[in-house]
Each structure stands twice: as structure tokens, then as C-alpha cells.
């Protein structure tokens, strides 16, 4: 029987239709990474005291200035111009700056630390409303009509924080985790619904079936990686020096590997519940050994070879190279993309072989 793209497409379309209708899974795919990232982000963004805040006072906001100066956690550095402020923020010497001019308040924030940015933005907000209140008290009619506009702008710092180094790897981890679990459960269902047996007695080949799944799932992997990439870069200021498309290509290849791995392992589970039991077995070792949290060099030597067979190790390495160093596809072909490709092919073959037609 020859391979048919048509049949592969039919399976892909069906997988997409099913996932599209499963709102909870869609929610999980899109929002869980955001929640995870925010948790990681807060946990890793350092302590709050000693926030270095620049102040460029062009006049007109005495009350707001007084409020900012009154906050103990802020170390205020008085600057002459906006460009000075920008420069210092991008060098990592300031966490943010407030530019005051009559009728306008501008806030420049270092996007790499959400927590600190939040604290500065909050303080400006409180100061501005106080100023508003005092204006209203002074001249009731005019004060209520004129809102003080606040313009917020993010500046991306160049000093790498913990989140910057971990962020790219977490992008890989999130996609690997959810694709593995969703794929394993999808294949368990194919078995229990009897659809798998029906495929076995149809022109659909095993290769076409797995390929269809890879295609269908890729759409959701893309959606998920795009969301996560957005949160990582815009929410947490992790730099994206290379191309977003290159980063997505790495994640797609990793996702395809996770899918065939999930399909392969579904053969060893009898229920969705048992799939959950794979988490400590399959996912945790990757988290610990892939070099996200500490460098591979610090993994004990006798365990290190194990790190080098895990796909997340290569994905994390490649994503860091793309996002932090601006590497292109050519720079990560060897060993990262090659290793991810080999991993995918091995488990594609294994997953296909496990879908055996004959038993007994």
C-alpha cells in the first residue's frame, strides 16, 4: 500500500477538529504556559528592595515627585534627559525611570523584571492619583476634567538575569510536557474507542496515521509556542535576538518528538490515569537533567550521558542560542537540530512499530 498524503491530511484534520472542540485542553495549551511563566517569573525575578529609579523632572508634578521620593525601596537618581534614562536602563544600571513634564508623565520600565516594573508602575499610579486629588481640591471644575496622561514604555536590558537564561528552556519544557501528555491520552482513546482497531482494517497505514497526528498537533504546538514565546519576551523581557521563526522551528521539532514519544508510551498505559503516572518517569528527569536550572557541567559525570539523550537538553540549548545570542538555523543545526531530528525519527519508528496489526 502506498503512502497517501490525502489520508494523512484526513487524520490531521480530524485531530484538529477534536482539539478545537476541547475547550479545556485549548485553555490548558494557551493559558497554562502563561500561568507557569508568571509563577517562574516571579520566583526568579529577585528581591524588591533597592529599586534603582531614574527621575527626569521637567516640572509640573510636585505631588507625584514627592510621593516617589517618599518610597523607601526606591533609590532615586536624578537625570537630565530621557536618553540618559534609556541608556542607563538598557545597561541594567536602572530598573526604570519616570519622566515628568507639564501635563504628561512618562514611565520607562526594564521589561526583564516584571515584579520591579510592576512596583514602579504602581507607585507612579498612586502618586498621580494623589496629584489628581490635590488638583480637584484646589479647583474642583478644572481638576476633574483633566486626567493626567501616563505613557508607559518598556526598555529591554542587556544584563542576563536568571529568567533570561531559564525562559527559553521553559518554552521548550512547556511544549514538551503538554504535547507528550495530550498525545499519550489521544492514543489511549483511539484504543479504548475501538477506532484504532478500525484503522487497522482500513487503507490507512500506520505511518500515515502517526504523520496525521504530527501534522494536526503541530498547529496547536505552534499556537502554544507562540503564546509562550510572547509571554517570555514581552512579559519577562527575555531578549529575542534571533528570529522568532527559528525559535518556533526548534519548538515544532521538539513537539513532534514529544508526540511520537507520547504515542509510543501510550502502549504501556491502560488508562488516562496511567498516563499521568508517566510524568515523574518521563518529564521530571528531563527537567532536572536538561541544563535549565544548572549547567550540564554540574550534573554528576556518571549521569551526564543521560542528559545527552534527552531531547529537552538540545531544545533548551538551541532556544538559548537563538533567543539570547541571535543564532540562526545554520548555527544550531549541529548538534541540536540533528539530535532532535534523530530523536523524532527513532520514536516515530518505535511508535509505528508498536501499532501492530496482528496479535497472537
Amino acid at each position: 500500500m502506498s503512502l497517501s498524503f490525502g489520508r494523512t491530511g484526513v487524520v490531521a484534520l480530524r485531530v484538529i477538529r477534536q482539539l478545537k472542540r476541547d475547550r479545556r485542553t485549548i485553555g490548558l495549551i494557551v493559558f497554562a504556559p502563561i500561568v507557569l511563566m508568571i509563577l517562574f517569573g516571579y520566583a526568579l525575578s529577585g528581591d524588591m528592595s533597592g529599586v534603582a529609579l531614574g527621575l527626569v523632572d521637567g516640572g509640573g508634578h510636585a505631588a507625584l515627585r514627592a510621593h516617589l521620593e517618599s518610597i523607601k525601596d526606591f533609590n532615586i537618581l536624578y537625570l537630565g534627559s530621557e536618553s540618559d534614562a534609556e541608556k542607563l536602563i538598557s545597561e541594567g544600571r536602572l530598573d526604570g525611570a519616570v519622566l515628568l513634564s507639564p501635563g504628561l508623565v512618562q514611565v520607562l520600565l526594564d521589561a526583564s523584571s516584571l515584579q520591579i516594573s510592576g512596583a514602579i508602575a504602581g507607585a507612579v499610579q498612586v502618586g498621580t492619583s494623589r496629584e489628581q486629588a490635590s488638583l480637584v481640591a484646589a479647583s474642583p471644575r478644572e481638576g476633574t476634567e483633566k486626567e493626567i496622561p501616563i505613557i508607559t514604555r518598556y526598555i529591554f536590558g542587556y544584563d542576563l538575569e536568571m529568567m533570561d537564561t531559564v525562559g527559553p528552556a521553559i518554552l521548550g519544557l512547556v511544549v514538551f510536557f503538554f504535547t507528550f501528555i495530550n498525545a499519550a491520552i489521544a492514543f489511549i482513546r483511539e484504543r479504548s474507542q475501538g477506532t484504532l482497531e478500525k484503522f487497522m482494517v482500513s487503507p490507512l497505514s500506520r505511518v500515515e496515521m502517526i504523520s496525521g497526528y504530527v501534522l494536526g498537533f503541530s498547529l496547536f504546538t505552534l499556537l502554544q509556542s507562540a503564546t509562550t514565546l510572547f509571554v517570555v519576551t514581552f512579559g519577562f523581557g527575555v531578549p529575542l535576538r534571533g528570529s522568532a521563526l527559528t525559535a518556533l522551528a526548534v519548538v515544532l521539532l521538539l513537539g513532534a518528538g514529544a508526540l511520537v514519544l507520547g504515542s509510543f508510551f501510550s502502549n504501556f498505559a491502560r488508562s488516562e490515569f496511567q498516563v499521568v503516572q508517566f510524568i515523574p518517569l518521563i518529564i521530571t528527569p528531563q527537567i532536572v537533567l536538561c541544563g535549565i536550572w544548572w549547567p550540564l557541567q554540574s550534573v554528576p559525570e556518571f549521569i551526564r550521558p543521560f542528559s545527552y539523550i534527552l531531547p529537552l537538553t538540545y531544545a533548551a540549548h538551541a532556544l538559548r542560542a537563538v533567543m539570547l545570542k541571535g543564532a540562526g538555523i545554520g548555527d544550531i543545526l549541529y548538534p541540536d537540530l540533528l539530535a532532535l531530528g534523530i530523536f523524532f525519527l527513532i520514536f516515530f519508528a518505535a511508535a509505528t512499530l508498536m501499532l501492530r496489526r496482528e496479535v497472537g
Binding site: R7, R17, G194, T195, L204, G360
Partner: protein
């Protein structure tokens, strides 16, 4: 009825460990018939069907499916429709989407796909429900959708494991009419069921027991083989006297609780009996396949 056998099995054996599930089974199913495979639980019906589509490897014997050795059956999967007891549907797809999926799997062209889906949904009475999620259907509707999906590619050989479970009698009749129509078009329909009434609607019936064919033939042949005849029950004013009269004319008579029962060699004899006696009431009891199989398996 075609000349070539749709399925022919010779000395087919299969065991799981020490359990012999198919024991030297011989079976011929001509093409263009509705064939009903009956038998108690564990008699090997489902194992046999799974062996036909090569989901199981046989230990021994020979089997041909649509003229091909069973080892090559994967080459002709597009000619086989296989409906298992698991309904093989996606509950999170609509009725229409399930149909479209299977139509796509068998490579039906777009126009053909639209026509077939329309025709089959009408046949299984789900046309109005095409937009509903399969998971929201009742058990009977789910079953009907599963059948429609199995028929989508107009298979030459249909293997249906208990297709009418949970289907109401009116629709069941529609199904049987449809199966007869398919057989009329030269297609072969193999059905397993435990409902004897259904078996009587098939052109041919096979009764499996302990991995062997205990009996096979048309329902009439099976009844004859088991020695079963129609029985005319007569309520008579003077049962003893009339019974003696009929016995004298050579009829086989029993009296049960005052009711005279005459075993008929043929239905034509009813007229002669009514000429001899005048019953107050009468009823004709046709022999049941169930009884025939019980008798045959006792004899075996």
C-alpha cells in the same frame, strides 16, 4: 448468489495458550448472501471475524477472503467494512464529521462523499442529527452512526459484530432490508448476533460451538436437519375423539392440557386437517431456530 466464496475456511485453528478457540473450523460463505454467525458466548465468533481481517494470526488451516489468501487481506481492506462491538466513533466530533472522516480515510471523492453521507444518514435515520456531537447521541443512535460509517465506502464484504443491539424494531427492519439489498447487489454481509429472530432473516446461518461449526445452511435446512416441523395447535370440543380420528389418518399427534398438537410435514396439510375436524380455535407455531440449535448441539 455469486459463484466465488466470499470467505472459505479449511481446518482453521487458533488457540490462546491452552484454550482452543477455533478447532479445525470449516466454513464457506458464498458471496452475495446475508450470513448469520450464531453461537453462545465464547464459541469463537469474534475470534473468527478478527482472523478474517487478520487482526489475529491463525495457528493452522487455510482461509481465503474474497478469493485472496488471508495473509494478503491487507491489500483489500478498502473492500471490507468492519464494525466491531466498540463503536469506533469519535464522541467529540459531530455525526457529519465522523462520516466525513471515514469517507476521507477511504478516499471518496467529494461529490460521492456528499451523496453517500446523505444516503446513509437517511437510512439510519440520523439526517436531522448530523450537526450533533456523536457523544450526545443515545445508545441506539450511536450504534446506527457506527453502522453508517462502516458502510460509507460500499464494501464488498461487510463484517458486522452485533450490529442491531439497541436499535428499535422498526429501524432494525430497515437495516435488514438494506442488508438484503446489498446482498442482492452481490455484496456479502456476515453478521454475528445472539438474537435468533435476526438469524431467521438471514439467507444462510451458521451455528458455532466450541470453535467448530455445529451446523450451517439456510434457516429451513437447519430446521430440517434438526427434525423440527411446524405445529398446529387445535382447541377442540372433543379433543380425545378428534385426536384419535387424526391419528387414524396418519398424523403425528400430542395432547397437551387438552390442546391437540399436530406436527405438519407441510403447510398444505392444514386444509385437509380442517376438513376432518372443526376446531373452536387454532394457532400455528413455526419451529424456532433456537430450538433447532439446541437440539443440534445436544446431538453433537
Amino acid at each position: 448468489m455469486g459463484t466465488q466464496a466470499a470467505i472459505s475456511a479449511r481446518g482453521v485453528t487458533k488457540s490462546f495458550g491452552r484454550l482452543q478457540v477455533l478447532d479445525n473450523l470449516d466454513l464457506d460463505i458464498p458471496s452475495g448472501v446475508t450470513y448469520c454467525l450464531l453461537g453462545p458466548n465464547g464459541s469463537g465468533k469474534t475470534t473468527f471475524i478478527r482472523a478474517i481481517v487478520r487482526l489475529l494470526r491463525l495457528d493452522g488451516g487455510e482461509m481465503k477472503v474474497l478469493g485472496r489468501p488471508v495473509s494478503e487481506v491487507n491489500e483489500i481492506y478498502s473492500q471490507i467494512g468492519y464494525m466491531t462491538q466498540h463503536k469506533a466513533l469519535y464522541p467529540d466530533l459531530t455525526v457529519q464529521e465522523n462520516m466525513e472522516f471515514y469517507a476521507g480515510l477511504y478516499g471518496l471523492a467529494k461529490q460521492k462523499r456528499v451523496e453517500r453521507i446523505e444516503e446513509l444518514l437517511r437510512m439510519v435515520d440520523l439526517l436531522e442529527h448530523r450537526g450533533r456531537l456523536a457523544g450526545a447521541l443515545s445508545g441506539g443512535m450511536y450504534q446506527r452512526l457506527s453502522l453508517a460509517c462502516t458502510l460509507i465506502h460500499e464494501p464488498e464484504l461487510l463484517l458486522l459484530d452485533e450490529p442491531t443491539v439497541g436499535v428499535d424494531p422498526r429501524l432494525r427492519q430497515t437495516f435488514w432490508d438494506y442488508f438484503d439489498r446489498l446482498a442482492g447487489e452481490g455484496k456479502t454481509v456476515l453478521i454475528t448476533t445472539h438474537i435468533m429472530d435476526e438469524a431467521e432473516k438471514c439467507q444462510r446461518v451458521g451455528y458455532m460451538r466450541a470453535g467448530r461449526m455445529a451446523a450451517q445452511g439456510s434457516p429451513e435446512e437447519i430446521l430440517r436437519l434438526a427434525g423440527l416441523k411446524p405445529v398446529l395447535r387445535l382447541w377442540l370440543a372433543e379433543p380425545e375423539k378428534d385426536a384419535a380420528l387424526l391419528r387414524a389418518e396418519g398424523y403425528e399427534i400430542d395432547i397437551d392440557d387438552g390442546v391437540v398438537q399436530v406436527r405438519l410435514e407441510s403447510h398444505a396439510l392444514i386444509k385437509e386437517i380442517l376438513a376432518a375436524v372443526s376446531p373452536l380455535d387454532m394457532r400455528l407455531a413455526e419451529p424456532r431456530l433456537e430450538e433447532a440449535f439446541l437440539r443440534l448441539s445436544e446431538a453433537a
